[in-house]
Symmetry: C3
Subunit: 152 residues, 3 copies
């Protein structure tokens, strides 16, 4: 199955990538590596606000991480045109807005990791660091940065 | 305008890069990528101490991030000699020492991002992740890690 | 001295790399770069739980970081077979589970950095970012992500 077929099978429509208002960009390519900026979780077009262990449960966080993965794929598509050009999802950095006692950042991160494997198949499994941060811009619950490898 | 001319126009004199006391180095080059260590904000030669949302305002943090960008450029110059050899600022990771309710890490990070674009022009816009951390070495308010691409 | 001889001299036996249960992997190679997932500190086969500045001292944290470096070398060995194939430890990201007032993340990180230099010699000194995070999966005290360069 192609990446596009996997997206359709799961009923996922990729969003248009929104250029940030500031002096940075959503992605930079160097050689065949594509560095994608940290994307925050959004809901109904606004930041998905909350802290894991306070207002949000692990299941909420997992859903938020999955939604960030969809945003990231939208940016990947804007960067490369055809997602088949991506030969590997290399690495994720998954930041979880965490109350002091919340220790399930890895389960939250699985929301993104599992979707990427469903969509990219053998090119999907990636290295990962997931951890709890004190805050995230706009109070979002999850932020994810991605590194992808492109076909030569 | 050259990078050097941009620095002069803004009245910025780059500091000498200070080798760390420990078993790590300020930068490592691999291929044409230059990975630069996290640099903390300093003021008058000491750590610029404080937490955003407690002792420091967003404007303070933005000024601190700008000062870290100057330190990073000092290290880039030590690494490559002539800053024109840098073909792209690829990525920043901007860590903001944040009180639990502070959610303007992106505005703090702009202090570094905007200066890099002013100095490097078309080579300046970069991917970025900015987020709030629980603490930073020496209690500094901002720490920034940088990845640059060098001309072949 | 070879890497293997350095390990023997220090009495370090590398653990087998444990594949994670989730949809990510311990490492991904792209070109001659090896991106290694964040590894958490463990003790007696379980997460080494605690926060620096609360239950754990800087010396505890340094020992934990050293133990993570051993785990990381186990994964490097699983990835490349012969550790002599590693031409450079490029970068570490050292996450320290930190109480609000704890500011010695750099000293904790030295526990990993110093061991890598002892083992890899001239290939050991690396770029680094060390900072305090709000939490780490399973409540672990330290998590470290590594980037290595392989010989062509």
């Amino acid at each position: 199955m192609s990446v596009q077929q996997n997206l359709e099978r799961l009923g996922i429509r990729l969003p248009a990538s929104t250029p940030p208002a500031a002096a940075f960009v959503q992605y930079v390519q160097t050689g065949n590596l594509l560095f994608v900026s940290g994307h925050i979780a959004t809901k109904d077009g606004k930041a998905w606000v909350g802290q894991l262990g306070h207002q949000l449960t692990t299941e909420d966080g997992k859903a938020a991480a999955r939604s960030v993965a969809i945003e990231l794929m939208g940016t990947l598509k804007a960067a490369v045109g055809d997602l088949e050009r991506i030969s590997r999802i290399v690495k994720l950095m998954v930041l979880v807005n965490s109350a002091p006692h919340f220790t399930e950042q890895h389960l939250v991160a699985n929301g993104a990791s599992e979707l990427l494997v469903q969509i990219f198949g053998a090119a999907g499994p990636h290295a990962r660091a997931a951890f709890g941060v004190a805050q995230i811009p706009f109070g979002a619950c999850v932020e994810i940065e991605l590194l992808a490898e492109l076909r030569a």
